[in-house]
Protein backbone atom coordinates (compact mmCIF):
# COMPACT_ATOMS: atom_id res chain seq x y z
CA UNK A 1 0.00 0.00 0.00
CA UNK A 2 1.33 3.40 -0.93
CA UNK A 3 1.43 5.95 1.86
CA UNK A 4 -0.49 8.88 0.60
CA UNK A 5 -0.44 12.38 2.04
CA UNK A 6 -3.75 11.58 3.75
CA UNK A 7 -2.29 8.46 5.41
CA UNK A 8 0.75 10.37 6.60
CA UNK A 9 -1.34 13.13 8.16
CA UNK A 10 -3.27 10.47 10.08
CA UNK A 11 -0.14 8.54 11.04
CA UNK A 12 2.00 11.41 12.31
CA UNK A 13 -0.04 12.37 15.40
CA UNK A 14 -0.40 8.71 16.33
CA UNK A 15 3.36 8.23 16.03
CA UNK A 16 3.96 11.37 18.09
CA UNK A 17 1.70 10.10 20.88
CA UNK A 18 3.42 6.70 20.81
CA UNK A 19 6.89 8.30 20.94
CA UNK A 20 5.89 10.41 23.93
CA UNK A 21 5.17 7.18 25.84
CA UNK A 22 8.47 5.63 24.79
CA UNK A 23 10.59 8.54 26.05
CA UNK A 24 8.50 9.07 29.20
CA UNK A 25 9.86 5.87 30.78
CA UNK A 26 10.72 6.14 34.49
CA UNK A 27 14.18 7.69 34.84
CA UNK A 28 16.38 5.59 37.11
CA UNK A 29 18.21 7.96 39.46
CA UNK A 30 20.03 5.35 41.52
CA UNK A 31 20.24 2.04 39.68
CA UNK A 32 21.46 -0.08 42.62
CA UNK A 33 18.73 1.07 44.98
CA UNK A 34 15.98 -1.49 45.67
CA UNK A 35 12.94 0.39 46.90
CA UNK A 36 11.36 -2.70 48.49
CA UNK A 37 14.37 -3.42 50.72
CA UNK A 38 14.13 -0.30 52.90
CA UNK A 39 11.79 1.21 55.46
CA UNK A 40 13.31 4.50 56.54
CA UNK A 41 13.05 6.14 59.93
CA UNK A 42 15.07 8.41 62.17
CA UNK A 43 16.29 8.21 65.72
CA UNK A 44 16.63 11.38 67.80
CA UNK A 45 18.57 11.17 71.03
CA UNK A 46 17.33 14.17 73.02
CA UNK A 47 19.99 13.96 75.79
CA UNK A 48 22.65 14.41 73.08
CA UNK A 49 21.17 17.47 71.35
CA UNK A 50 23.10 20.69 72.04
CA UNK A 51 20.84 22.95 69.96
CA UNK A 52 23.69 24.12 67.71
CA UNK A 53 21.41 24.43 64.66
CA UNK A 54 23.77 22.55 62.33
CA UNK A 55 20.94 20.33 61.14
CA UNK A 56 18.69 23.32 60.37
CA UNK A 57 21.40 25.08 58.36
CA UNK A 58 22.41 21.90 56.53
CA UNK A 59 18.80 21.11 55.65
CA UNK A 60 18.24 24.62 54.29
CA UNK A 61 21.36 24.41 52.14
CA UNK A 62 20.90 20.85 50.92
CA UNK A 63 17.26 21.37 49.96
CA UNK A 64 17.16 25.13 49.18
CA UNK A 65 14.59 25.76 51.88
CA UNK A 66 13.49 29.43 51.69
CA UNK A 67 14.41 31.72 54.59
CA UNK A 68 11.85 31.69 57.37
CA UNK A 69 10.57 28.22 56.45
CA UNK A 70 11.84 25.00 57.96
CA UNK A 71 11.83 21.34 57.02
CA UNK A 72 13.54 20.67 60.31
CA UNK A 73 13.87 22.93 63.32
CA UNK A 74 14.91 22.84 66.97
CA UNK A 75 12.75 23.79 69.93
CA UNK A 76 14.04 24.74 73.37
CA UNK A 77 11.82 23.53 76.18
CA UNK A 78 11.65 24.98 79.64
CA UNK A 79 9.54 23.05 82.12
CA UNK A 80 9.17 24.85 85.45
CA UNK A 81 9.19 22.34 88.27
CA UNK A 82 6.00 20.25 88.11
CA UNK A 83 4.27 22.13 85.26
CA UNK A 84 4.69 19.35 82.73
CA UNK A 85 1.50 20.37 80.92
CA UNK A 86 2.65 23.99 80.52
CA UNK A 87 6.10 23.88 78.97
CA UNK A 88 7.58 27.12 77.63
CA UNK A 89 8.76 26.44 74.09
CA UNK A 90 10.81 28.74 71.88
CA UNK A 91 12.47 28.33 68.52
CA UNK A 92 14.06 31.62 67.36
CA UNK A 93 14.46 31.35 63.55
CA UNK A 94 14.01 27.60 63.92
CA UNK A 95 17.23 27.43 65.93
CA UNK A 96 19.16 28.06 62.72
CA UNK A 97 21.67 30.40 64.40
CA UNK A 98 21.75 28.33 67.59
CA UNK A 99 20.09 29.64 70.76
CA UNK A 100 20.92 32.71 72.80
CA UNK A 101 22.03 31.82 76.34
CA UNK A 102 18.94 31.55 78.51
CA UNK A 103 18.84 33.18 81.90
CA UNK A 104 16.16 30.86 83.21
CA UNK A 105 17.40 28.79 86.06
CA UNK A 106 15.51 26.03 87.79
CA UNK A 107 13.19 23.57 86.20
CA UNK A 108 14.13 21.48 83.24
CA UNK A 109 15.66 22.77 80.02
CA UNK A 110 16.38 20.75 76.90
CA UNK A 111 16.32 20.84 73.10
CA UNK A 112 13.96 18.89 70.83
CA UNK A 113 14.79 18.68 67.12
CA UNK A 114 11.68 18.29 64.98
CA UNK A 115 11.08 17.16 61.42
CA UNK A 116 8.54 15.23 59.39
CA UNK A 117 7.79 11.97 61.19
CA UNK A 118 7.35 10.09 57.90
CA UNK A 119 4.21 8.48 59.28
CA UNK A 120 3.24 5.08 57.95
CA UNK A 121 -0.45 6.10 58.23
CA UNK A 122 0.13 9.75 57.48
CA UNK A 123 -2.82 12.15 57.80
CA UNK A 124 -1.30 14.50 55.21
CA UNK A 125 -1.30 12.00 52.35
CA UNK A 126 -4.85 10.92 53.12
CA UNK A 127 -6.31 14.37 52.56
CA UNK A 128 -4.55 15.16 49.29
CA UNK A 129 -7.28 15.45 46.66
CA UNK A 130 -5.03 14.85 43.65
CA UNK A 131 -2.51 12.21 44.73
CA UNK A 132 0.31 14.74 44.89
CA UNK A 133 1.66 13.45 48.21
CA UNK A 134 2.20 9.86 49.13
CA UNK A 135 4.11 7.33 51.22
CA UNK A 136 6.73 5.64 49.07
CA UNK A 137 7.23 1.84 49.26
CA UNK A 138 10.35 2.55 51.38
CA UNK A 139 8.39 4.60 53.91
CA UNK A 140 9.18 8.21 53.00
CA UNK A 141 6.42 10.82 52.63
CA UNK A 142 7.09 12.82 49.47
CA UNK A 143 5.40 15.58 47.46
CA UNK A 144 4.98 15.46 43.68
CA UNK A 145 5.62 19.12 42.86
CA UNK A 146 4.18 18.87 39.37
CA UNK A 147 0.89 17.48 40.71
CA UNK A 148 0.46 19.66 43.81
CA UNK A 149 -2.26 22.30 43.52
CA UNK A 150 -1.19 24.20 46.63
CA UNK A 151 -4.60 23.70 48.28
CA UNK A 152 -3.01 23.49 51.77
CA UNK A 153 -5.14 20.55 52.95
CA UNK A 154 -2.00 18.67 53.90
CA UNK A 155 -0.54 21.66 55.74
CA UNK A 156 -3.60 21.67 57.99
CA UNK A 157 -3.75 17.89 58.31
CA UNK A 158 -0.20 17.40 59.62
CA UNK A 159 -0.44 17.21 63.42
CA UNK A 160 3.26 18.03 63.72
CA UNK A 161 3.29 21.23 61.66
CA UNK A 162 5.91 19.85 59.31
CA UNK A 163 4.54 21.19 56.02
CA UNK A 164 4.48 24.62 54.43
CA UNK A 165 3.71 26.20 51.08
CA UNK A 166 6.88 27.23 49.29
CA UNK A 167 6.35 30.92 48.41
CA UNK A 168 8.23 30.54 45.12
CA UNK A 169 6.57 27.44 43.71
CA UNK A 170 3.26 27.76 45.63
CA UNK A 171 3.32 24.02 46.21
CA UNK A 172 3.45 22.05 49.44
CA UNK A 173 6.92 21.30 50.73
CA UNK A 174 8.32 19.15 53.48
CA UNK A 175 11.23 17.04 54.63
CA UNK A 176 12.05 14.38 52.03
CA UNK A 177 14.35 12.57 54.48
CA UNK A 178 16.97 13.66 51.90
CA UNK A 179 15.53 11.06 49.55
CA UNK A 180 18.07 12.10 46.90
CA UNK A 181 20.86 11.20 49.36
CA UNK A 182 19.58 8.05 51.07
CA UNK A 183 18.86 6.40 47.70
CA UNK A 184 22.54 6.95 46.84
CA UNK A 185 23.76 5.31 50.04
CA UNK A 186 24.45 8.57 51.90
CA UNK A 187 22.87 9.68 55.15
CA UNK A 188 20.62 12.76 55.36
CA UNK A 189 22.23 16.21 55.46
CA UNK A 190 21.04 16.79 59.05
CA UNK A 191 22.43 13.46 60.27
CA UNK A 192 25.68 14.07 58.38
CA UNK A 193 26.42 17.34 60.16
CA UNK A 194 25.03 16.57 63.63
CA UNK A 195 28.18 16.93 65.78
CA UNK A 196 26.96 14.82 68.70
CA UNK A 197 25.16 12.02 66.90
CA UNK A 198 21.82 13.15 68.27
CA UNK A 199 20.18 12.41 64.91
CA UNK A 200 20.61 9.08 63.17
CA UNK A 201 19.05 7.77 60.01
CA UNK A 202 17.76 4.23 60.43
CA UNK A 203 16.47 1.54 58.10
CA UNK A 204 13.89 -0.59 59.89
CA UNK A 205 13.88 -3.21 57.12
CA UNK A 206 17.63 -3.80 57.47
CA UNK A 207 18.06 -6.46 60.17
CA UNK A 208 21.66 -5.36 60.78
CA UNK A 209 20.76 -1.72 61.51
CA UNK A 210 21.76 -0.74 65.07
CA UNK A 211 18.29 0.84 65.46
CA UNK A 212 16.80 -2.54 66.42
CA UNK A 213 19.16 -3.00 69.37
CA UNK A 214 18.64 0.64 70.39
CA UNK A 215 14.83 0.39 70.35
CA UNK A 216 15.00 -2.79 72.44
CA UNK A 217 17.22 -1.31 75.14
CA UNK A 218 16.04 2.30 75.46
CA UNK A 219 12.96 4.22 76.55
CA UNK A 220 11.79 5.44 73.17
CA UNK A 221 8.71 7.45 72.26
CA UNK A 222 7.17 9.00 69.15
CA UNK A 223 5.48 12.41 69.06
CA UNK A 224 1.72 12.42 69.65
CA UNK A 225 1.28 8.65 69.80
CA UNK A 226 -2.44 9.16 70.51
CA UNK A 227 -2.85 10.40 66.93
CA UNK A 228 -1.99 6.88 65.66
CA UNK A 229 -0.11 8.25 62.68
CA UNK A 230 2.49 5.49 62.65
CA UNK A 231 5.23 8.08 63.18
CA UNK A 232 8.71 6.74 62.40
CA UNK A 233 10.87 9.40 64.06
CA UNK A 234 11.81 7.85 67.39
CA UNK A 235 12.79 10.05 70.33
CA UNK A 236 15.02 8.69 73.05
CA UNK A 237 14.78 10.21 76.52
CA UNK A 238 11.85 12.46 75.62
CA UNK A 239 10.18 14.31 78.45
CA UNK A 240 6.42 14.01 78.86
CA UNK A 241 6.06 17.75 78.33
CA UNK A 242 7.10 17.57 74.67
CA UNK A 243 4.23 18.35 72.31
Amino acid sequence: MDITRRHLILLLPAAAVAWKYVVAGTPEASPNYKISEHWWSMLIDIPKCIGCGSCVRACAQENEVPDGYFRTWIERYHVADWKIERPEVESPNGGKQAFPPNEISGGKNFFVPKLCNHCADSPCTQVCPVGATFVTPDGVVLVDKSYCLGCRYCVQACPYGCRFINPKTSTAEKCTLCYHRITKGLTTACCEVCPTGARQLADLRNPNDPIHEFLKTHTVQVLKPHMATGAKVFYNGMDGSVR
Partner: protein
Protein backbone atom coordinates in the same frame (compact mmCIF):
# COMPACT_ATOMS: atom_id res chain seq x y z
CA UNK B 1 -38.89 -6.48 15.17
CA UNK B 2 -38.66 -2.84 16.26
CA UNK B 3 -40.28 0.02 14.54
CA UNK B 4 -37.91 2.96 13.99
CA UNK B 5 -34.87 0.87 14.94
CA UNK B 6 -32.56 3.65 13.73
CA UNK B 7 -33.23 5.57 16.99
CA UNK B 8 -31.65 2.79 19.00
CA UNK B 9 -28.78 2.42 16.57
CA UNK B 10 -28.09 6.16 16.79
CA UNK B 11 -28.05 5.93 20.60
CA UNK B 12 -25.76 2.90 20.54
CA UNK B 13 -23.34 4.64 18.20
CA UNK B 14 -23.32 7.69 20.46
CA UNK B 15 -22.57 5.59 23.54
CA UNK B 16 -19.79 3.69 21.73
CA UNK B 17 -18.20 6.97 20.60
CA UNK B 18 -18.43 8.43 24.12
CA UNK B 19 -16.83 5.35 25.70
CA UNK B 20 -14.04 5.30 23.13
CA UNK B 21 -13.43 9.04 23.62
CA UNK B 22 -13.28 8.54 27.41
CA UNK B 23 -10.80 5.68 27.16
CA UNK B 24 -8.59 7.54 24.68
CA UNK B 25 -8.64 10.80 26.65
CA UNK B 26 -7.94 9.00 29.92
CA UNK B 27 -4.95 7.21 28.40
CA UNK B 28 -3.63 10.50 27.05
CA UNK B 29 -4.17 12.58 30.19
CA UNK B 30 -3.25 10.22 33.06
CA UNK B 31 0.55 9.84 33.34
CA UNK B 32 1.74 6.34 32.56
CA UNK B 33 3.32 5.79 35.96
CA UNK B 34 0.18 6.85 37.89
CA UNK B 35 -0.88 3.89 40.00
CA UNK B 36 2.48 2.12 39.69
CA UNK B 37 2.83 1.99 43.51
CA UNK B 38 -0.42 3.62 44.65
CA UNK B 39 -2.71 6.56 43.95
CA UNK B 40 0.12 8.81 42.78
CA UNK B 41 2.61 9.26 39.96
CA UNK B 42 5.31 6.60 40.42
CA UNK B 43 7.79 8.62 38.37
CA UNK B 44 7.67 11.37 41.02
CA UNK B 45 9.78 9.17 43.33
CA UNK B 46 12.73 9.10 40.96
CA UNK B 47 12.25 12.79 40.18
CA UNK B 48 12.73 13.59 43.88
CA UNK B 49 15.67 11.18 44.02
CA UNK B 50 17.31 12.87 41.02
CA UNK B 51 18.08 16.06 42.97
CA UNK B 52 21.85 16.80 43.13
CA UNK B 53 23.52 16.57 46.53
CA UNK B 54 25.15 19.55 48.29
CA UNK B 55 26.87 17.81 51.21
CA UNK B 56 29.52 15.36 49.97
CA UNK B 57 29.83 13.41 53.22
CA UNK B 58 32.92 13.12 55.42
CA UNK B 59 34.18 9.92 53.72
CA UNK B 60 34.68 11.91 50.51
CA UNK B 61 36.64 14.66 52.34
CA UNK B 62 38.82 12.11 54.11
CA UNK B 63 39.73 10.56 50.74
CA UNK B 64 41.99 13.55 49.98
CA UNK B 65 42.51 15.31 53.34
CA UNK B 66 44.13 12.33 55.05
CA UNK B 67 46.34 14.57 57.22
CA UNK B 68 43.32 16.32 58.75
CA UNK B 69 41.54 13.00 59.22
CA UNK B 70 44.56 11.68 61.13
CA UNK B 71 44.76 14.83 63.26
CA UNK B 72 41.04 14.63 64.09
CA UNK B 73 41.41 11.05 65.30
CA UNK B 74 43.61 12.31 68.15
CA UNK B 75 40.95 14.64 69.52
CA UNK B 76 37.33 14.70 70.57
CA UNK B 77 36.22 16.33 67.31
CA UNK B 78 36.69 13.01 65.51
CA UNK B 79 32.91 12.53 65.68
CA UNK B 80 32.19 15.90 64.04
CA UNK B 81 31.77 15.63 60.26
CA UNK B 82 33.91 18.01 58.15
CA UNK B 83 30.92 19.78 56.63
CA UNK B 84 29.38 20.45 60.04
CA UNK B 85 31.80 23.40 60.28
CA UNK B 86 33.05 23.90 56.73
CA UNK B 87 29.60 23.87 55.12
CA UNK B 88 28.26 22.03 52.08
CA UNK B 89 31.19 21.22 49.80
CA UNK B 90 30.10 18.62 47.26
CA UNK B 91 30.96 21.24 44.62
CA UNK B 92 34.51 21.39 46.02
CA UNK B 93 34.75 17.59 45.93
CA UNK B 94 33.65 17.60 42.29
CA UNK B 95 36.06 20.38 41.29
CA UNK B 96 38.73 20.92 43.98
CA UNK B 97 40.70 23.55 42.05
CA UNK B 98 38.07 26.16 41.17
CA UNK B 99 35.77 25.78 44.20
CA UNK B 100 37.61 26.40 47.46
CA UNK B 101 36.07 26.52 50.94
CA UNK B 102 35.73 29.90 52.63
CA UNK B 103 37.84 30.72 55.70
CA UNK B 104 35.77 30.27 58.84
CA UNK B 105 35.26 32.67 61.73
CA UNK B 106 35.85 30.48 64.76
CA UNK B 107 34.60 33.16 67.16
CA UNK B 108 31.08 32.58 65.80
CA UNK B 109 31.37 28.96 64.73
CA UNK B 110 32.68 27.38 67.94
CA UNK B 111 30.23 29.32 70.10
CA UNK B 112 27.27 27.76 68.32
CA UNK B 113 28.11 24.46 69.95
CA UNK B 114 30.14 25.45 73.00
CA UNK B 115 28.45 28.63 74.30
CA UNK B 116 27.04 27.78 77.72
CA UNK B 117 23.30 27.19 77.78
CA UNK B 118 21.25 25.60 80.55
CA UNK B 119 19.41 23.46 77.99
CA UNK B 120 22.61 21.75 76.84
CA UNK B 121 23.59 18.37 78.28
CA UNK B 122 25.58 18.91 81.47
CA UNK B 123 28.53 16.78 80.30
CA UNK B 124 28.96 18.70 77.05
CA UNK B 125 31.98 21.10 77.22
CA UNK B 126 30.61 24.65 77.47
CA UNK B 127 32.12 28.07 78.06
CA UNK B 128 30.82 31.59 78.47
CA UNK B 129 32.83 33.04 75.58
CA UNK B 130 32.83 36.57 77.02
CA UNK B 131 34.60 35.29 80.17
CA UNK B 132 36.61 32.54 78.48
CA UNK B 133 38.17 34.42 75.57
CA UNK B 134 36.65 37.89 75.46
CA UNK B 135 35.36 37.27 71.93
CA UNK B 136 38.71 36.62 70.23
CA UNK B 137 38.83 33.88 67.60
CA UNK B 138 39.00 30.44 69.25
CA UNK B 139 41.69 29.20 66.87
CA UNK B 140 44.10 31.74 68.40
CA UNK B 141 44.72 29.10 71.08
CA UNK B 142 42.83 25.96 70.02
CA UNK B 143 43.48 23.87 66.92
CA UNK B 144 39.87 23.15 65.81
CA UNK B 145 40.67 19.67 64.45
CA UNK B 146 42.26 18.67 67.77
CA UNK B 147 40.96 21.24 70.26
CA UNK B 148 42.56 20.12 73.54
CA UNK B 149 45.51 22.32 74.50
CA UNK B 150 48.17 19.90 75.74
CA UNK B 151 49.81 22.08 78.41
CA UNK B 152 46.49 23.51 79.57
CA UNK B 153 46.48 24.42 83.24
CA UNK B 154 43.36 23.48 85.18
CA UNK B 155 42.83 27.14 86.14
CA UNK B 156 42.88 28.39 82.54
CA UNK B 157 39.12 28.94 82.60
CA UNK B 158 36.23 27.18 80.97
CA UNK B 159 34.68 24.15 82.59
CA UNK B 160 35.36 20.82 81.01
Amino acid sequence: MFKDIEHLIRLAVFIVIAVVAFVVLRAAVVPRSFGQYGHYRGAAISEVAARPIAYAGHEVCEGCHTDVAEQKKQGKHVVVACEACHGALASHADDPTSVTPAKLDTAILCARCHEANSAKPKLFPQVVTADHSGGIACDTCHQPHKPKIEDEKPSAGGKK
